[in-house]
Amino acid sequence: MRTGVSRRRKLWAVVALLIAVAAITPHSTPFLVLLITRILILAILAMSVDLLLGFTGLSSMGQAAYLGLGAYLTAILATRCQFGLGWDFLLVILFGILLGVATAALFGLLALRAGGVYFLMITLALSQCVWGLAYRWNSLTGGDNGINLPDRPVLGMIRLGNDAAYFYLVLGFFLVSLVSLYVLVQSPFGHSLVGIREREVRMRILGYNTWLHKYIAFIIAGGFGGLAGVLWAELSGQVSPEELTLTTSVDALLMVVLGGPGTLMGGVFGAAIVLFLREYLSTLVPWWQYVLGGIYVLAIYYLPDGLLGLLRRSPDAAVAAAEPVPSRGVGAAVGRHGTALNPKRRVSE
């Protein structure tokens, strides 16, 4: 779909942007350091949503569950077992990823039995299960109050309690996530996922085990969600059931849709916009939520392919139009699922 030159140019743009973020952030205000660290963490979550939504065509309304699991695991280990206060924090990260993977492996068995709107609902119900436990299981999770974490870990000479140091740690994990997800979606496996998004029946006829592909994508997304959760808990210093609500899951969906589904970087830009509004605009004006709500509504009507979709359309629109590749927009990604939920509307293969 894209020419080699154009792709290379995009790669350079992303690299330049990340270098700029890495270089400038620690010299900005303390507030900005925290905000950008938050953006990077939620960008990991958004990329995991993008793997499902943009590449596989599954709209999950329960990605907050994995963020919450990772976050609560970190908090419980730190407060109950004093585990993860030093170098063992790296193990906590590993456990967080594994918990996300294991939970997604279980949840995926249930969720992938349904498609379209039912997939949406079942992922919502699953994440509500996790929320319910966090909210009510007082003896383990602290209930409504959540858990306050001790100071951030100290890794040898590096005190992560320093926000700039923690920013670099998060940036590192963000880069690893971005690169590994990029490699994944460029791999034959990633291309099969796109094939499933576009025409699952055809992929099945071609002999692909489409269920297994979707299952693996679901599990990988859960792992990245768990990673984001561990980083999130240490950043904010506390966890509460609030992070597990529908709002987090839908925010993650909006980040992807706003930035451009099926682009990975789109979720990153989306995370930046949503968090900027939620965390920065909210300190300036009391009516910030009108802006956020308005963006939710307007983005759907006026940015069907997200912000990166605008970029793509301008220079090589002619190339894209000439090739018989369907658009990667939201409409294309979920439109087929949307129609699939009403079987009578489905065009038979």
């Binding site: 299960c129 009510r136 939201v330 939920l341």
Partner: protein, 286 residues
């Protein structure tokens, strides 16, 4: 844990289910007819409570607040469907995001208009008594809730199953394209059903405001529970919504009474299992 405990919990569960039916039946019909996953449904509930409060503060009449809250939200739903939702078509994700955006807008608007305080809607004194049934003292208000939900359920059933308009709605649920083909104005059917669903949610808000309280956040609290009702019953089915509402009401009550630490889990886990086994719910059609 004697029989009185069980009977009382049963009664509480059913009366909570009655409230959930008001929310769930509208949500279910909206989904059945328009395939819209309406995240703003919880907001309709909350806004219904707030409108009722304003009416009560200005006129002092709860009896007037009941239809006022319902009608105001019905009109709001009508406008929202007509202007914003109709052009969206059947794309689930876009519906979710747009209606979620509206939920945020309504949340902020409610905060600006009514503030962040915790209110209660006080029903008339005649309804706050309790009556003795055997050895149990049952609050009359909850009996009223059950009666109202039953009456509305029967009326809805009658309209859907026995009238011409109902036949048009059912035809649209079954096969919108075919319904259009034989001359049914499905756009108008959708608009009316959406408005009706919003109206029922608003009514639920007036009723529930005396019982759950009225405060920012009720919308997001009640929404997943309303979804549970719809999903368990099967989207688009009225009987399903009724049974789903009672089941969820009971699961919620007994869960909180018997297993307080995992009470929401006992609500959502059966929902997950049911969805996994039968994604269309108990009464939903393929």
């Amino acid at each position: 844990m004697d029989t009185r405990f069980w009977l009382l919990q049963l009664f509480n569960g059913v009366s909570y289910g009655a409230l959930l039916f008001l929310l769930g039946s509208g949500l279910s019909l909206i989904f059945g007819v328009m395939r819209i996953v309406n995240i703003a449904h919880g907001s309709y509930f909350l806004l219904g409570s707030y409108v009722a409060l304003t009416v009560i503060w200005t006129t002092g009449s709860w009896l007037l607040a009941l239809p006022a809250g319902a009608l105001a939200i019905g009109l709001l739903g009508l406008a929202m469907e007509r202007i914003f939702l109709r052009p969206l078509g059947f794309d689930v994700l876009r519906q979710v995001l747009v209606t979620f955006g509206f939920m945020l807008l309504f949340q902020q608007a409610a905060l600006d208009i009514w503030g962040g305080d915790n209110f209660m809607i006080n029903p008339p004194a005649q309804l706050t008594r309790s009556i003795a049934v055997g050895t149990l003292h049952l609050p009359l208000y909850r009996i009223f809730m059950i009666a109202l939900a039953a009456a509305i359920g029967l009326a809805l059933w009658f309209v859907l199953e026995r009238t011409r308009v109902g036949a048009m709605v059912r035809a649209t649920v079954d096969d919108a394209e075919m319904a259009r083909g034989i001359g049914i104005d499905t756009a108008r059917v959708s608009m009316l059903v959406f408005a009706l669903g919003a109206l029922l949610a608003g009514l639920g808000g007036v009723i529930g405001g005396a019982f759950l309280g009225v405060y920012p956040g009720v919308d997001l609290q009640i929404l997943p529970i309303a979804f549970a009702v719809v999903i368990i019953g099967g989207m688009g089915s009225l009987a399903g919504a009724a049974i789903g509402a009672v089941l969820v009401g009971l699961a919620d009550n007994f869960g909180k009474a018997l297993f307080p630490e995992i009470s929401y889990f006992t609500l959502y886990a059966p929902m997950v299992l049911l969805l996994a086994v039968k994604p269309t719910g108990l009464f939903g059609r393929e």
